[in-house]
Amino acid sequence: MCGIAGIIHTDGPGDVGAEMTRMLQSMKHRGPDSAGYALYGEPSELLVMRFKLADPNETSDFDFSERLERSRREVESRLSKVGATVDRVQGESAYAYRASFRYEGELKPLADYIENIPGCEVLSLGHSLEIVKDLGDARTVSDSYRLGEFRGTHAIGHVRMATESDVDIAGAHPYWAYPFSDVAVVHNGQLTNYHQWRRRLERHGHRFQSECDSEIIAVYLAERLADGMSLETAMKTSLSDLDGVFTYLVVTEDSLGMAKDEMAAKPLVLHEGDGMVALASEESAIRAVLPQEIDSYDPYESEVLVWSR
């Protein structure tokens, strides 16, 4: 089933961390396995990289913490080796970290080099994007990663009921559009031509971190954006390129978009208000941040909409 939500403030930053938590928590019944956020803070000069060095399902054997510490030092040394000036690397949970650094080069070799460290996955990379995802409901994830204080302009989130792959962080949404900076995707549905697209994209040199079908949407869009296509055009081509049922949300540094398959098989409720646009699988999620009566509607089949902050 899964629940997805998105919010964009068009009149300056808001408490997107707390707002997204309220939206996702109200849809807990749609997916209790894991919760994930893609949050956009104030854009900075520095690149922010969210990464994890182990999975919560992993057993903590005798040198678990030493191994993590070694891997963390390895990340720092690899960042310096590729010419990045590290600002700081901080632990966000037992196995997830946030690094900020100055770097001018290409992102793909950097991400590939870092992910070459055993157990490491780069969750997000960008000047304002930060992806946080973990097992448990939205409240649990928000509390352990202190997302209540996060201020920003827009965000998307996802509560997952695992159907196509394992319950772990690699299978949790949102997906960063590797290796494209500041783009992330959440998806509700199933893609039936996943294996074709995965083979096609792997041949083009893209890596996949999970067995989850939703990951190809992020990489698919990233490839088209890298080819110079606009976000809206890339999303429109995805409607015929992707088979199956889907409603997905995509965020970039300054915009938020939605796309729905040609049968409108998966739900999405949209509210366009003064200074903000909110979308979610259920109206109750929007009402978690806007308690008053609102006007809302379901976008139709094959619809692609994009808003900018």
């Binding site: 807990k28 019944h29 209790p32 040609e262 049968m263 409108a264 098989a265 739900p267 409720v269 259920e282 109206e283 109750s284 929007i286 009402r287 308690p291 009566e293 609102i294 006007d295 809302s296 509607y297 379901d298 139709y300 089949e301």
Partner: protein, 262 residues
């Protein structure tokens, strides 16, 4: 504001159902009418309070305030009564009803009035997908737009849509009628068995075995009567769509059945 229910309900192990919850008894009752605030009630508490009022107290007119887009509100009411829901409800609102007249002043989510047996449900704003799914009787009126698969598997009754309808409207409908004032999306009437769909606007495309039929004076009379009841503006003309009966294979036996007969 009505006083909150003091007793918190116990949830099951999944944190969803509330097996031993009781009606909060917070309604203000004045003669034949009752009003209660649903802002702090769970869907189950709302429905228990509603049942207490219409069955226990025999009150014919109940208003629910602040429904807050909650799911499954006013489900399975099997008696004649008038219910006003002042705001928006989520999925499965006003479903499985037999008799009530339900007026929702806001928007509804998916599957509103699913399996309604009789009665009237009127929605002032938009509706999600699967509106009136498997409906068997009564009138379902949506003054705004509806999503996809309106009246899927409809077996009776009338669905009236003031605005546009999405993809696969009337998918597999078996009886009853739909009156769509605006445009209808692609695949309209796909695999319909019987019944009629009247469309005032444009049809994006027809589904498998759905064909246009001629409007009769009886059709126009029926539409006029329905629009008069609900005070709606009637589009100048309607087109009528019915089943082409090309997929009717009721006389043909399955190979295994044929062996039994012969």
């Amino acid at each position: 504001m009505v006083a909150m229910s003091t007793r918190r309900s116990r949830n099951d192990i999944r944190g969803l159902a509330e097996p031993d919850v009781e009606a909060p008894k917070t309604a203000r009752i004045e003669g034949d009418t009752a009003v209660f605030d649903a802002a702090d009630l769970s869907p189950r508490q709302i429905n228990l309070e509603l049942r207490r009022l219409v069955y226990g107290e025999q009150i014919p007119e109940v208003t629910i305030e602040n429904p807050g887009a909650k799911h499954s509100v006013a489900v399975g009411i099997l008696t004649r009564c008038r219910i006003t829901i002042d705001g928006s409800v989520g999925y499965f609102g006003a479903t499985l009803g037999d008799g009530p007249e339900i007026h929702i002043t806001g928007r509804v989510g998916w599957s509103v009035a699913e399996n309604m047996m009789s009665g009237v449900t009127v929605i002032d704003k938009n509706a999600g997908s699967l509106t009136g799914a498997a409906m068997r009787g009564g009138d379902l009126v949506i003054r705004g737009h509806v999503g996809a698969r309106t009246g899927i598997d409809q077996k009776g009754g009338t669905i009236i849509v003031g605005g546009n309808a999405g993809a696969l409207t009337g998918f597999m409908m078996q009886r009853g009628r739909q009156i769509i004032c605006g445009d209808a999306g692609p695949g309209m009437g796909d695999s319909m068995y019987d019944g009629a769909i009247y469309v005032g606007g444009a049809v994006a495309s027809l589904g498998v075995d759905c064909v246009e039929a001629e409007m009769t004076p009886e059709d126009d009379e029926l539409i006029d009567r329905k629009f008069r009841i609900y005070g709606m503006d009637r589009p100048a003309s309607f087109r009528k769509f019915v089943c082409g009966k090309k997929l009717w294979n009721y006389d043909n036996l399955e190979p295994s059945e044929r062996k039994l007969v012969l």
